[in-house]
């Protein structure tokens, strides 16, 4: 069993090439998966999704009486011949899926064994890859990271990737994210919501440890056409710190804001922490449910293959 981490993982352990994020074997297994949206969304190009918008698709949906101004091209002249009344054919329009994966690159994610940020990057890579191979419009965003000068980079984005050939570009972008900033969740969610293009699936990968709260951030993106998945990523050392040797008189330093908390860790304190963690996760889950957001708690010790091929399929994100 690994010991309680002393701090952020060393640079040597971080992924440096795309194979570190996703290997060929996983790619092969992901090729058969697709992202499922609980809704059918409009897309810019006709994709592989059925849209609720009836339109120019080949798949017939229904008829409705003609009204002035309708496109005469969709009048069913056969019915007009038989019934002498004008009806319009309504088709289900096939749309491409807009998929955006948001990765929390704040300092709090850069911790744990395995590190939460690295796990999130690998998961984002896998989900993005699934989107690309299924001809979905894939966008990735990261918040809380640092730029090349080590300054907060704000919201970083790569947008509108489509097709398997963009896999390398997506992986390179993920590898270039430098974690280490503080917070920015609410601002990132607000900016993503404001710059929304069409509808789609949004997957947020974060630990949701936001001292200013996660509620407002999630509220920005919920109910605006996004099928939002909140995947809360926690390290096992966060879930059960006592098992990993956390004890004694400690001065706990917050990775993001250097806030300190002096704690004498004993059984009672650990018990209290676990209750607080459960309560926090429960509050996040309740908040998500109220806003039709799918909440999934992910332990970084969970095998990524099992998560993608089994767990997320059961949760309905993948099929």
């Amino acid at each position: 069993m690994t010991r309680f981490p002393e701090g952020p993982p060393p640079a040597a352990s971080r992924p440096t090439k795309i194979d570190d994020l996703i290997d060929g074997r996983l790619m092969a297994r992901l090729d058969h998966l697709d992202v499922v949206s609980r809704k059918i969304f409009n897309g810019r190009v006709q994709g592989e999704r059925r849209s609720k918008r009836r339109g120019q698709s080949v798949e017939f949906a229904d008829f409705r009486p003609y009204v002035h101004g309708d496109d005469l091209r969709f009048v069913d002249w056969n019915i007009y011949g038989r019934l002498d009344r004008l009806f319009l054919k309504i088709f289900l329009e096939e749309e491409d899926l807009s998929m955006i994966v948001v990765v929390d690159a704040s300092s709090s994610m850069h911790w744990g064994d395995p590190a939460k940020f690295d796990y999130a990057r690998r998961l984002a890579m896998a989900l993005g890859y699934i989107g690309l191979v299924n001809q979905n419009r894939v966008s990735l965003a990261a918040f809380g990271g640092l730029d090349a000068e080590g300054e907060p980079a704000g919201l970083q984005r790569i947008s509108n990737l489509r097709g398997r050939r963009r896999t390398h570009e997506m992986g390179r972008w993920l590898l270039d994210i430098e974690p280490g900033g503080a917070g920015g969740f609410e601002d990132a969610m607000r900016r993503i919501a404001l710059t929304r293009q069409g509808r789609g699936v949004m997957i947020v990968l974060s630990d949701f440890f936001q001292k200013d709260g996660f509620e407002r951030g999630l509220r920005y993106v919920s109910g605006r056409g996004y099928d939002v998945h909140a995947m809360q990523i926690l390290a096992p050392q966060e879930i059960e710190p006592g098992r990993y040797g956390m004890s004694g008189d400690l001065r706990l330093v917050d990775l993001e804001d250097d806030d300190e908390a002096e704690v004498t860790v004993n059984a009672a304190v650990l018990r209290g922490y676990r209750e607080r963690l459960d309560a926090y996760c429960g509050a996040l889950r309740d908040h998500c449910i109220r806003r039709s957001i799918m909440h999934t708690l992910v332990d970084t010790s969970t095998d990524l293959d099992a998560l993608l091929l089994d767990y997320l399929r059961k949760r309905g994100l993948l099929r």
Binding site: F4, P5, E6, G7, P8, S107, S108, M109, W111, G112, K116, D207, F209, K211, A235, E238, G242, M246, S247, G248, D249, L250, R251, L252, V253, D254, L255, E256, D259, E260, A261, E262, V263, T264, V265, N266, A267, A268, V269, L270, R271, G272, Y273, E275, R276, L277, Y280
Partner: protein, 667 residues
């Protein structure tokens, strides 16, 4: 309960509690750990520390236990003790009886501790209680320790040093002496008297608390009066049930018609309320000579009008036995009782010899006739001129006894004198006033050898010389106008003086006169040396005459130890006072002789008060009756309490450690 070092404990408490609380206020030195977020920890942890150097004190069981532990340690350092009395400031005099009766082994219930040892232990505890302070204490009582037997001895004057007072008590040795508290009271009062030179008032006796450890059998209690402001606490030592019988007197004489034989007389007294029967054993020079063929019955004590409780008494005469040479006679009461030292009495019988007596200015036909009737070696009649001449030439040394029959002598060279009438020119007996007339006897010391078989009840004296007596002079017979018969024993000079001329009384017509004269002559002369030594009681010195050339003088004590006796005048040797009963063997060397010569002295405790050893419930001063309380020591001695507190503190420490382990190690 008292605190031996209260200030010290308080200082320690004040020194350690604030740091402990500060430790709880101050942040701990903690290991730095980086975590993703303190969000949840801050919400869940009880003892979070703010960034401020101090935090709000949170009541925890550990802090409570630690404070309790420190308090207990501080209390232990204060040395709490339970005692039997309250602390008392001011001056306190501890009077400790170390007379013979205090040697009885009934101090504690086991019977292994003497009354004196018990009294000392009790007094030491009392000192600690009175003192009530250790090295850090403020005020303390001033304590004076006085031990008393025949004489009183200041063991320590008033001191505020606890150690000094305890050492003074511990140094009190047992004696076989009698018990006189008067001297102790006088000493205490002398030290309590405050004389302020700045004030013109007279000396003021500061009130003092007296505390007495005794069995209450004190001879001179009736002569003492408590003064204004004086209080006395009587700590009774010993059992009120212990019984004892003892030898009241012992005497030996060579029968008039058989000087080669010795007859021993002994009187046994029984101060208890029950009739007792004992066997008596007679030893001569250490060898048992005889044991009574049947038990000697001793009647119980009886209440007699005017006299109070009078001990039952039985006199017993051993059959005469042949003993030409000198001998050490020892009589032993067989059987065990509370006080062994009065169950044995010894005396020294000199070798048989016939006396040479001179009578000076023999006016009394009766006196001369009595002397002529004695089996003397010689009887010379001297007039005053002959006497003065012989005194000047040293010729009086040829006589064993010189009888002064109302003779107006001017000098008294060393010798033994029986004097009648005129007051002899010797220090210690001083005539005053006019002649007393119409005198009768008020008291006589019937135990003295010269008064054996001498009944003076019918004696009437028409005129007598009134005298005062000085040190070394014992009044044997007393009248309302002063001494009638006195005994002076001053080493080279030994004298029995009768303060009236027998012809001025009806004494010549009484049988007691016929007994008195031979008794006195034999006492002073032929048997005098031996009988004089038998008269030594504990507390008195051994006084004897040795040859002028005596050197290397040593004395062997009853316990077998030997001491060297330093004196510049062997002819007037005094050693003592003797403390214990038994045989004292004085030995010396003379020039030209390699053999050491010896003389044995027997010291007997025959005092009636000391014979009564049941502890008195109260002591009766002439005015006040002081009820006693059993002295506290031994089984009821007050205990140090701090070891128990330390034990509780240790248990608390273990409990605190266990709780800490449970809280921190688990999980």
């Amino acid at each position: 309960m008292t605190w031996l070092t209260p200030l010290f404990g308080g200082i320690v408490l004040a020194a350690v509690v604030p740091p402990l609380l500060a430790l709880y206020f101050l942040r701990l030195r903690r290991t730095r750990r980086v975590i993703p977020s303190t969000l949840l920890w801050k919400r869940s942890v009880e003892d979070l520390r703010a960034n401020a150097p101090f935090q709000r004190l949170r009541p925890t069981i550990l802090l409570l236990l630690q404070l309790l532990l420190l308090a207990l340690l501080a209390i232990a350092l204060m040395q709490p003790r339970f005692d039997g009395g309250e602390r008392r400031d001011g001056r306190t005099v501890l009077l400790i009886d170390n007379s013979a009766s205090m040697n009885v082994l009934d101090g504690d219930e086991t019977g292994n501790q003497s009354r004196l040892e018990f009294a000392k232990a009790s007094a030491i505890e009392r000192i600690e209680a009175l003192h009530g302070g250790g090295i850090f204490s403020g005020s303390a009582a001033e304590i004076m320790v006085v031990a008393f037997n025949d004489v009183a001895e200041i063991r320590t004057p008033f001191t505020d040093s606890r150690q000094a007072a305890i050492a003074a008590v511990e140094g009190i040795e047992p004696t076989d002496g009698r018990s006189f508290v008067g001297g102790g009271l006088q000493l205490a009062r002398a030290f309590l008297t405050v004389i302020d030179p700045d004030r013109q008032t007279g000396p003021v006796a500061a009130p003092a608390a007296l505390e007495l450890w005794s069995d209450g059998r004190i001879t001179d209690l009736g002569d003492q009066v408590l003064r204004a402001g004086e209080t006395i606490d009587y700590h009774r030592v010993g059992s009120m049930e212990t019984e004892n019988i003892g030898i009241a007197s012992i005497a030996a004489q060579r029968p008039y018609d058989a000087l080669g034989q010795v007859q021993v007389f002994v009187a046994i007294e029984n101060p208890t309320a029950a009739r007792r029967s004992v066997d008596l054993q007679l030893s001569v020079n250490g060898a048992v000579r005889s044991i009574t063929s049947r038990k000697v019955e001793i009647p119980p004590s009886q209440e007699k009008p005017g006299l109070g409780q009078v001990a039952g008494r039985k006199q017993f005469s051993f059959a005469p036995f042949d003993q030409e040479r000198d001998a050490i006679i020892e009589v032993l009461v067989l059987g065990e009782d509370g006080q062994p030292i009065d169950d044995v009495a010894a005396l020294i019988v000199p070798p048989a010899k016939r006396l040479r007596v001179a009578v000076v200015d023999a006016e009394s036909f009766v006196l001369r006739s009595i002397l002529e009737g004695m089996n003397l070696k010689s009887l010379d009649l001297l007039d005053l001129a002959d006497y003065e001449q012989l005194a000047e030439s040293g010729g009086l040394d040829a006589y064993d006894v010189i009888v002064l029959d109302d003779a107006a002598v001017t000098t008294m060279p060393p010798g033994r004198y029986l004097s009648f009438g005129r007051t002899p020119p010797i220090e210690g007996v001083t005539e005053f006033g006019n002649l007393a007339t119409g005198v009768i006897v008020r008291r006589s010391s019937e135990d003295h050898p010269i008064l054996r078989y001498v009944n003076l009840d019918e004696l009437y004296i028409s005129s007598m010389h009134k005298v005062t007596t000085g040190p070394g002079v014992t009044t044997l017979v007393e009248s309302g106008d002063g001494a009638l018969v006195v005994a002076l024993d001053r080493g080279p000079v030994q004298m029995i003086h009768v303060t009236f001329d027998p012809l001025d009384s009806n004494w010549p017509y009484l049988r007691s006169f016929v007994n008195f004269v031979p008794n006195a002559v034999e006492y002073l002369g032929g048997l005098g040396e031996a009988l004089a030594t038998t008269g030594i009681a504990p507390g008195e010195p051994i006084v004897t005459r040795l040859p002028d050339q005596a050197k290397e003088i040593r004395i062997r004590l009853p316990d077998g130890s030997e001491e060297s006796v330093e004196t510049g005048d062997p002819s007037n040797l005094a050693w003592g006072p003797v403390r214990r009963t038994g045989l004292y063997e004085l030995s010396w060397e003379e020039p030209g002789s390699s053999d050491r010569r010896q003389r044995v002295f027997a010291v007997n405790q025959l005092d009636a008060t000391e014979r009564r050893i049941d502890a008195a419930e109260s002591i009766d001063f002439s005015v006040d009756v002081i009820s006693g309380s059993a002295a506290k020591a031994g089984g009821t001695r007050w205990q140090d309490f701090w070891p128990w507190i330390l034990g509780v503190a240790l248990a608390l420490m273990i409990l605190e450690w266990w709780i800490w382990q449970r809280q921190s190690a688990a999980g």
